[in-house]
């Protein structure tokens, strides 16, 4: 018995860490389990009986798959927009000293240090006052706005840790500036750009607060659909989508790491 307690004491930190991990993962497991539920009422909160109905008919609920496709479209466009604009800003901040540099840094930092609801309400107020109708465009504008800063931080960190001598070496070997950029700079910065893009996609796809304040009656994104459903009755298919997203995310990260490891091994 005393050996048991010694063991517990020696592994206390790890045990606490694993408990924390359980706390993090538990809701995902519940979402997974309840995607196989056949609920009694409209709400899928209590276990009734096992069924694969939702998995065989994921789009069986009115409007859900439309909202999913709208979310994907917004997320892809917002990712492209934020990544292009953010990468440019990141290169300027990492590579040049210029007047207004610290003001720009502050401007990039502020949206990340602001509660979402404040940005959401203020942008919504602007659109209202300018009589710009809420819809796809306003959602896209808002998403690019709040994803931009995250791309800048991700890319900037990467560019600043790059060895500038590699580009000088390319130029010494008579590469033109364009060739240097395309063959040396861009491949070196790629992991940072990819991280920023991935983060934008996740943030945009999952965004609810800013979208709720800046979307129109016909543009219902997937999180907005879930929100509405949480008040009227939640179809099991929502859990199917949630689980599929989780699996896809794990698959992508594992695949990405595996690719990265292989690259390192061959390099």
């Amino acid at each position: 018995m005393s050996r048991f307690f010694t063991w517990i004491r020696a592994h206390l930190v790890v045990l606490a860490g694993l408990l924390a991990l359980a706390y993090l993962v538990l809701p995902n497991l519940v979402v997974l389990a309840f995607s196989f539920n056949k609920p009694v009422g409209k709400f899928n909160y209590e276990w009734n009986e096992f069924s694969t109905d939702a998995w065989t008919d994921p789009c069986g609920v009115a409007d859900m798959c439309q909202s999913l496709s709208l979310s994907l479209q917004v997320a892809v466009l917002a990712t492209v927009g934020a990544t292009v604009l953010g990468t440019m800003v990141a290169f300027a901040l990492a590579r040049y000293r210029f007047r207004g540099r610290s003001a720009t840094t502050a401007m990039i930092f502020l949206p990340m240090a602001m509660p979402e609801v404040v940005m959401a309400a203020s942008l919504g107020t602007l659109f209202l006052n300018m009589r710009i109708p809420f819809g796809f465009t306003t959602i896209l504008i808002a998403h690019i706005m709040f994803c931009l800063s995250f791309v800048v931080t991700a890319v900037k960190a990467r560019v600043m840790s790059m060895d500038p001598r590699l580009e000088q070496a390319a130029q010494d070997l008579y590469a033109t500036p364009v060739q240097t950029f395309l063959r040396v700079t861009l491949p070196l910065a790629a992991p940072g750009i990819a991280a920023g893009a991935l983060l934008s996609f996740a943030l945009s796809f999952d965004d609810f607060i800013i979208t709720q304040f800046n979307s129109g009656p016909t543009t219902v994104t997937f999180p907005m659909f879930v929100w509405g459903a949480s008040q009227r009755g939640i179809p099991v298919q929502v859990n199917v989508i949630g689980t599929a997203m989780f699996i896809a995310a794990v698959g992508l990260t594992v695949g990405g790491q595996w690719l990265g490891n292989r690259r390192k091994a061959t390099a």
């Binding site: 991990l21 107020t125 706005m145 996740a202 709720q212 997937f222 879930v226 949630g242």
Partner: protein
């Protein structure tokens, strides 16, 4: 988000490469950063900074949707909003602070385990498990807590057997045999939702610590806890500061957990802003509320960062 703490190594910005350049290319080079900045910064100015100012002016307007709003310097809006929503503010900051402390208490052991106790292979598995929930709709995950904490469910049953609910009821965190629709449920949801924002900065700052420092402390007869208190924790302080900010700021503006897991008496400022903006259509009040929220948060963050003494966040 982890990038917030990834302080870039101090590195000289490469000087203009020593190519012979006439005056025309040189001015072009000088302008290059501005061309690179222009689209991104313009986007932020038009869709972030200008709306903030606009909101300031909206909060001073009076009128109605039919007759239009005009700036009348009606400062009473602020006073009325504060009076009406004072408990919302108290709850927002109270819940957010509690959730932040819980995140630190729960997140630190996990970040520590990943950084020091896990083998290289396990380390990436654990990191994936921390990040992956990020990619699942957080609304769905928050709704899952409704199942986990449901009345008569295993969690509530266990807490009842251990008499935890008696204690939490006594201090007003829960009421009776319920966890759902109480402050405890909202704090639990907030803690859960923002935990990765705490773990990732903690991990990045812990991961940089040379394990030999621990050995050195041990060689100098420091007990494990002393090593932690005198070596590990001080070095990880930037991660703690970044993590607490990344948790506290979004948590204090959140209204989803209060809406989905709480009852009307757990509503936070975010719920007030949302209601005024989307249902009541009282834009001046919504603007005043978000202005007060923003000012309070900025004030607290500034004081906190002064105290913590780390300003290298970006």
């Amino acid at each position: 988000m982890s990038t917030l703490t990834e302080a870039a190594p101090p590195q000289a910005i490469p000087p203009d490469s020593g190519q012979p350049a006439g005056s025309a290319p040189r001015t072009r080079r000088k302008l290059t950063p501005y061309w690179l900045l222009l689209p991104g910064v313009a986007w932020l100015v038009v869709f972030f900074a200008v709306p903030m100012l606009y909101q300031g002016s909206t909060s001073l307007q009076t009128g109605s949707l039919e007759d239009g709003f005009r700036v009348t310097w009606h400062l009473a809006t602020y006073w009325d909003a504060l009076v009406e929503y004072k408990w919302h503010f108290v709850r927002s900051f109270g819940y957010a602070a509690t959730a932040t402390l819980l995140c630190l208490a729960i997140g630190y052991p996990l970040a520590y385990t990943i950084a020091f106790k896990a083998s290289k292979r396990w380390r990436s598995v654990l990191l994936i498990l921390v990040i992956a929930p990020f990619f699942t709709s957080f609304l769905i995950r928050t709704l899952a807590w409704k199942t986990i904490l449901s009345d008569g469910g295993p969690v509530v049953g266990l807490l009842n057997t251990l008499h935890v609910l008696d204690v939490t009821s006594a201090i007003g965190l829960t009421s009776g045999d319920r966890v759902l629709a109480t402050p405890l449920a909202v704090v639990c949801g907030l803690t859960y939702n923002f935990l990765p924002f705490m773990i990732l900065p903690l991990y990045t700052s812990l991961e940089r610590i040379d394990p030999r420092l621990h050995e050195a402390a041990g060689d100098l007869y420091a007990r494990p806890f002393t090593t932690f208190r005198k070596v590990t924790f001080p070095i990880s302080l930037p991660g703690v500061v970044a993590g607490t900010l990344l948790t506290f700021i979004p948590a204090s503006g959140d209204y989803i957990n209060a809406q989905l897991l709480g009852s009307p008496s757990e509503q936070m400022v975010g719920n007030g802003i949302q209601k005024q903006f989307l249902n009541v259509l009282d834009y001046p009040t919504a603007a005043a509320l978000s202005f007060i929220l923003m000012a309070l948060i900025l004030g607290m963050v500034t004081v906190y960062m002064r105290k913590a003494g780390t300003e290298e966040l970006v």
